[in-house]
Amino acid sequence: MKNGSSIFCTLLSFLLLVSYPTFSQEETKISPYIQLQYFKNTDESRFLKTTLTYSLNRMEIPVPGMEISFFSEAAGKELIGTVFTDDKGVASLELTKNIRPPINEEGLWEFSTEFKGNDTIQAGNSELSIKDVKLEMSLQEVDSIKTITLKAVTMGNSSEIPVSEEVVMIYVPRMFSLLPVGEATLDESGTASLEFPSDLPGDSEGNLTIISRFEEHPDFGNIEKKIEIKWGVPSVNQAPVAHRALWTKTAPMWMIITLSVLLAGVWGHYLFAIISLILIKRDSKKQAKLKS
């Protein structure tokens, strides 16, 4: 009987354990997200950047170590370089002066990027048409007003063509991200100016970095100009007002009192137990002396 019920319990445990319904699922290839972007920096250097990712549990997971090919398409498909994605899933190709991609009839560069895929990830590609834009930014103080002047032109056959009715964003980098401080719409001559706020904190000397950008523009891509200038209010790091809180150096009083009372109470009782042991030892010595 005893053995019978033991076996019953063991079997019941096992059956419950294996009762989980298992589903077989065909392994499917990961469908990646491939994005091609164009960047032009302050120093006029130009990059093509491909990001290869896939989505898992709401998170965008990069795919590192994959070969990405970059092509120029304006005069037939021509390979301009291959780069492997890094840990962030990004493959970046600099368009050096040696690389002279042709333009199409509309004066645009046509780029494409391609990932051939492998056993686990599907192939993917992305395309991009870019017009080369030159963005200029100058900073001046006119009648004590800090003014940013912007100028953007595209390169025509022989002359510069102003970029009009386009928005340029102005940012100042802060600790965690870029702070938008304004946006300027370019006029017919391709210029715009706007007033820069005079109350922005800078570093201890008042230095600020001002960034102007075309962002994710469908024709121009990402173009950036960056200038450092002493237009900020010098920051003075003041220590926070000393008060007791969870985030200050000194703990709230109630917390210190509670902990102290608890610890004193507990360790007081420990002391009592230790003293009892000492008294037992003394008593035994006394008894031994009496006996001898």
Partner: protein, 435 residues
């Protein structure tokens, strides 16, 4: 100090001689321990990259083991404290085991924290730059206080036994062991004054360790509860952890009763009555534990906070098997086995206890890991292997080493002091006198 000769004859052989089986068993566990040491050396040499912990899941097996062992410790303290304080008649043969569970688990538990810390060389910062506001500081203070208190409590319970062994002429042990008993018995001879002093100290310490066990394990629960993480931010985490700890500790007590009863032939002392009594205790606690578990998940599910819903969805899909085992089988099966008199045999109760202990460990796993796999915001540069935690052999080996040290310390202590307290056994409770 004299004791019943039959008691001495029955309970001291394991102290006098050591069997080949003992040596073989000890060697096996020593082997596991050494494997753990090898794993630890690998971890120290190569860094935490050899573990399954990454930017998302920064707590893995080590923290699970830490919570598990600390829970066993506090439950041992609670059980032994309550049994002693209320002079429960049947406690005598099992109270020593509960006391030993307390101290041994408390020694092992914190080591898992050391394994988990990336910069051990900065550990002393906790002491030189403590912030009272931090639950981690509370935990450090609490564990140290508890460790000290449990050592005193254990020692108080050993004094009488050491005195009995010191004065037992028929005990064949090496001179160092006799000297050991002589020193640690503090010259105790059972005089009325000494008895009173010892009894008062034990009573006070039993009250203290009950209180400390509850507070300290609650502090550990608050480390989770005070965060805003899904699944952790719960007001009932303190009592839930305490109940869960007692559940696992009671289960472990039954397993150890079964092992030592069998190995040291203690059938006369640890009887079916003890198994049934501790088993019933396990069932009652299982009911409370089940209630807390249901209450915790029900409020989270009903509240439908986005992250809680994602977590619960994950628990019922990815972690389905573990969740069902920890929160259904682990609670219901032991309760069913012990609730029906027909199933209440010693092996069945032990199987029920083993299921309960294992389920509790899994419960700790599904409290820690799925929450960390469900962050509010994706960590920058997240990679697939950072999201999903998977323990490596190093974490397994150190877990095995922790269990091995637990077993080895029990084996070693059983060679120094009787696993059933002689002094407790010869005390006559008023209840028994009345009988």
């Amino acid at each position: 100090m004299q004791a019943d000769k039959k008691l001495l004859k029955d309970l001291t052989p394991e102290i006098e001689s050591t069997s080949t089986t003992w040596y073989i068993t000890f060697s096996v566990f020593l082997g596991f321990f050494l494997l753990g040491i090898y794993g630890l050396i690998q971890q120290i040499d190569k860094g935490h990259i050899v573990t399954g912990m990454r930017d998302n899941v920064v707590w893995g097996f080590y923290i699970v083991n830490f919570i598990f062992f600390m829970g066993l410790s506090y439950s041992g303290a609670l059980i032994s404290g309550v049994l002693h304080l209320f002079h429960t008649g049947w406690r005598k043969p099992v109270i020593r085991l509960a006391e030993l569970i307390t101290v041994i688990s408390l020694i092992i538990g914190p080591f898992f924290i050391f394994f988990c810390i990336g910069r051990l060389d900065r550990l002393y910062f906790l002491f030189i730059h403590p912030r009272i506001q931090s639950p981690i500081t509370w935990d450090v203070i609490a564990i140290l206080t508890d460790l000290f208190g449990c050592f005193i409590y254990l020692y108080l319970s050993f004094v009488e036994d050491f005195a009995i062994l010191r004065d037992y002429d028929g005990l064949h042990v090496p001179p160092w062991k006799r000297k050991f008993y002589k020193i640690l018995s503090l010259g105790y001879d059972g005089s009325p004054r000494q008895k009173k002093l010892l009894s008062n100290a034990r009573t006070i310490m039993s009250v203290m360790i009950i209180a400390i066990a509850i507070i300290v394990y609650s502090v550990l629960a608050w480390i989770f509860g005070v965060t805003l993480q899904p699944g952790w931010h719960s007001t009932i985490f303190g009592p839930y952890f305490v109940i869960a700890a007692v559940f696992s500790g009671t289960g472990l007590l039954i397993i150890l009763m079964w092992i030592f009863r069998r190995i040291y032939h203690l059938e006369e002392y640890i009887t079916k009555r003890h198994f049934v009594n501790v088993g019933v205790l396990l069932t009652v606690i299982a009911a409370f534990y089940g209630y807390f578990t249901f209450s915790d998940y029900l409020t989270k599910w009903y509240g439908s906070i986005k992250m809680d819903s994602i977590l619960i969805d994950k628990l019922f899909n990815e972690y389905y098997l573990l969740f069902i085992f920890a929160n259904y089988i682990g609670i219901l099966l032991p309760a069913i086995i012990i609730a029906f008199p027909k199933f209440r045999t010693i092996p069945n109760i032990t199987v029920a206890a083993a299921i309960a202990v294992l389920a509790l460990w899994v419960n700790r796993y599904i409290i820690v890991i799925p929450t960390l796999e469900t962050p509010f915001l994706p960590v920058q540069d997240t990679r697939a292997d950072w999201i999903k935690y998977s323990p490596t052999w190093i974490e397994w080996s150190l877990t095995l080493a922790g269990v091995s040290v637990f077993v080895m310390l029990f084996m070693l202590i059983s060679k120094i002091a009787p696993i059933v307290s002689i002094s407790e056994m010869q005390q006559q409770d008023s209840e028994e006198i009345l009988k």
